[in-house]
Amino acid sequence: MSIASQLPVLPIIMPIMAAPVTLLLPKGRAPHLWACLFTWLTFAACIALFREVDMSGPISYHLGDWAPPIGIEYRIDLANALVLLLVSGIAALVMPFAYRSVQLEVDERQTPLFYGAMLICMTGLLGVTITGDAFNVFVFLEISSLSTYALIAMGARRDRRALTAAFNYLVMGTIGATFFVIGLGLLYQATGTLNMADLSKQLIGQDNRMVQAGFAFILVGMGLKLAMFPMHLWLPNAYTYAPSAVTAFIAATATKVAVYVIIRFFFSVFNFDFAFIGAAFTYVLLPLGLLGMFGASFVALFQEDVKRMLAYSSVAQIGYMLLGLSFATVEGLTASLVHIFNHALMKGALFMAVACVVLRAGSHSIHAFAGLSKRMPVTTWAFIISGLSLIGVPLTVGFISKWYLLNAAFAAGHWYAGFLIVASSLIALAYVGRVAEVMLLREPAEEGKYAMAKEEAPLSMLIPMWILVLANIYFGVRTDLTGDIATRAAEALMMAAGGAP
């Protein structure tokens, strides 16, 4: 039994075993270094997994050597290998980034807990992605959510509203997860299995009330988790008051993983013979995606708080992902997968830039950004480049996303959606432009609450942030990893779902 054959379980086993150890380590650097080490190891394992899947096709790993459908199966194909790579990659960047930010924003006594919770959160997200067992999805989802509630609440040192934000998220998240479990129960009742691959076989030809209800519960439950408009109300506060490093991590990964679950259930578990799914696409995901794009973007326009503005923008961006998959075409699904990846890059970088500002200016209000280009030019440009990416300017990943999405919209005949997509990007232009203008053209506050010294963020923060910013550019001109892989993944998913390839 070599390590290589156990590779698929490593991204789960390593961090979850490492997490409790952080509590035993002395306070200070040790827990941080320990957590960094394990996120990097996990990232390495995910890279190895990705290469394996890329070269030799899907992997099925039987946990405890119990064959599916009885045992729990980890099933990795291109779609989730990409998401695994994304989640672990972002974690590998956020973890070293977090140190200085956490020093400032989190109570010192809690820092070992913080890093432990971060590791658990990552494990949960990876677990949701990697598993091929529907109930396992729920378990991992709650593992990640519970640690996220705790992480958000740690923002209370700076702002006590973090506590109420975490509480609201807890209530909404638990309702969402429970809805998801109800849906699973109904599917289980109809099929007698919980393995996704097996579920999909057993569901062929089943189109009755029970399966429909199960589908609806799963959709609503996941909708809550991924902050689908109008079930997004927990998100802005949670993102705003969480410690900055946590926001950077969960904004880049948590909702993406939930979108991935939706994709997995819609395309791998259910199939297109199931007429209900078409209705869900046309009457739920498409309109809600569009509404989210506009509603949330519009609200973002009027935020005085940059972090909250970006949070609303995240809700809007989730709209793009839902819109893409609602076309139910290979192009649309590709666009969704590409945008999952790309949006993580841009939002990760943006929230990291905000974290740098919080470190120096002590606030994420837009007033703290006044004249930032004179105080923190390196951070300013990181924010501007990732902001341009958010708008969808060429040579950035945002443009690639938009291109795929527009192409999917036009190819699917939803030309009106194409125009709505660009219209919503224009709102993004307005709110990013507003911050950019404040940073570039206003004079920095000399005194008062927002005054700050001319001091850049430390290198431990700048380097991870700029890696993400450069990734925004790199993947904006080379789409071998994102576009091609996503296309192949989408084709495989569509084949499984019985749609036209």
């Binding site: 708008i391 690639i400 291109w403 036009f410 190819a411 125009f419 660009v422 203008e437 001109v477 576009g483």
Partner: protein, 502 residues
């Protein structure tokens, strides 16, 4: 000599290298300016290489890499692009010389940033000129928009901020909101964005037919840099920038990139024949005609010289759009020649405006009465430039008008000929009046009466010209506009592949 196909990527990379050199030489203004000029000179050589190769019937190509499957960043020089590249790179040197004079004469701040942005902008303009497909064109189009933003907001005050906001807002809104969907739509229907002789659409006439008008509209307004009304407000607002920016970018590089794109789309994406057969372009022809007249009318009311010139530019740009929308070969030819002729003419006018401002700090037309007596060279150049814009022989601007009229006659649109005539009359009124007043009228304020012999047209003894670096460039471009009049035939032959000729 390097090969033309290598010259293409080099001419994109070179200004960027220059940009870095400028940045490194921040502390040494003289060396920094030398870096700009040397870069400009090499760039001109490269542009000439490409221009010559294209003239010899070659179509040098260079594929950088594929971004998305089937969507490469690729370059291919054809006559129109080679001409635009040559104009942009040639006038960049002229403008750099002028900028040095202007910026130093003014003691401006942030000169390094200014020249760096300029270098990036010229690189983007080259990318637009040599783009082989819509995808590449769009990328460099957006880079051009963004790189010129720091130039527009150079002064950093409230006015600059507002101007910059409108500048970026309109250009980005039109390009992302209309042009990008148009390109993707084209791609979704035809599976390519490659500029093809005879047009991409012709092969997919059935699919495109019903929406041809819609698509053309998306392109016409989406290419906001062409300033077709009502997508024009960015242009007058861009005038908050220092004059060299207005002179080069907002008379040459940026706006010409816009109308150049319109021509490219009309010729290589839709195809003239396709446009004529479907009649899709007729509404936009009228919009362009309306834009010509309306912008001229607004220009007449502007007392600020730069604002007047800006609206004149809006009007003149619509000539090119009009030429493309006439969907006749003569119309396209007129539009293409207008790019060259207007670039020389309008740049002259802007540089003169800047020279006047440097020498006398005057920006209102009403203040310039009598000024010609002490600034004869500047106003002389202005006079020639104005002649060219109006379309009076022996200046280059007369040829585009001639071809446009021929094109309108071919298309059977006699009303368009009337529009062109009325527009010329309006041009005479609002442009020629300026040098005429400057030379023949007495200054508005009594105290400011220039010394010297009363009634003499030019007071040679009391000249108060701008620095030589600000005066020589407009004289140079004015001469260029004059010479181009006599080289219309070679230019016509050079551009004739555009309309299917040999």
């Amino acid at each position: 000599m390097i090969s033309a196909s290598l010259a293409i990527p080099l001419s994109l990379a070179l200004p960027l290298v220059g940009c870095i050199a400028i940045w490194l030489l921040d502390k040494h203004p003289n060396l920094r300016e030398a870096a700009t000029l040397i870069t400009g000179a090499i760039l001109l050589v490269l542009a000439l290489t490409i221009f010559g190769a294209v003239g010899g019937g070659e179509q040098p190509e260079h594929v950088l890499f594929e971004v998305i499957d089937g969507l490469p960043i690729a370059f291919k020089a054809e006559p129109l692009g080679a001409m635009f590249g040559l104009i942009a790179s040639g006038l960049w040197i002229v403008n750099s010389v002028y900028s040095i004079g202007y910026m130093r004469g003014h003691g401006e701040e942030h000169q390094t940033r200014f020249f760096m942005s300029f270098a990036v902008a010229i690189s983007a303009a080259m990318g637009v000129a040599y783009a082989a497909n819509l995808f590449t064109l769009f990328i460099f189009y957006e880079v051009l928009t963004l790189s010129t933003f720091p130039l527009v907001t150079h002064y950093g005050d409230d006015k600059a901020r507002n101007g910059g906001r409108i500048y970026l807002g309109v250009l980005m809104a039109t390009s992302i909101g209309l042009l990008l969907p148009a390109i993707v739509w084209t791609y979704a229907i035809t599976g390519t964005t490659e500029f093809t002789e005879g047009g991409i659409m012709a092969a997919h006439a059935e699919a495109v037919g019903p929406i041809a008008g819609v698509l053309l509209g998306l392109y016409a307004f989406g290419i906001g840099k062409a300033a077709l009304m009502p997508a024009h407000p960015w242009l007058p607002n861009a005038m908050v920038a220092p004059t060299p920016v207005s002179a080069f970018l907002h008379a040459v590089a940026v706006v010409k990139a816009g109308v150049f794109s319109i021509l490219k789309v009309a010729v290589y994406v839709f195809g003239i024949d396709f446009l004529r057969d479907t009649g899709a372009s007729v509404p936009f022809m009228w919009i362009a005609a309306g834009s010509i007249l309306l912008a001229s009318a607004i220009a007449m009311h502007k007392d600020n010289l730069k604002a007047r010139l800006a609206y004149s530019t809006v009007s003149q740009l619509s000539y090119v759009t009009l030429g493309a929308m006439l969907a006749t070969s003569m119309g396209v030819m007129g539009g293409a020649m207008q790019i060259a002729a207007h670039a020389l003419g309008k740049m002259t006018l802007f540089m003169c405006a800047g020279a006047i401002y440097v020498a006398h700090h005057k920006s209102l037309v009403s203040e310039m009465r009598g000024l010609g007596r002490v600034m004869p060279f500047t106003f002389g150049a202005f006079f020639l430039g104005a002649m060219s814009i109006i379309g009076l022989p022996p200046m280059a601007g007369s040829w585009p008008k001639f071809f446009l009229m021929l094109g309108a006659a071919d298309a059977g649109q006699l009303a368009i000929i009337a529009v062109l005539m009325v527009s010329s009359i309006l041009n005479v009124i609002y442009l020629l009046s300026i040098p005429v007043q400057a030379f023949y009228m007495n200054p508005a304020e009594e105290g400011a009466k220039p010394q010297g012999a009363e009634g003499a047209l030019i007071q040679w003894g009391a000249l108060k010209e701008a620095p030589i670096l600000c005066v020589a460039p407009p004289l140079f471009t004015a001469t260029g506009a004059f010479l181009l009049f006599f080289f219309a035939d070679p230019l016509y032959k050079y551009l004739s592949p555009l309309i299917g000729g040999q």
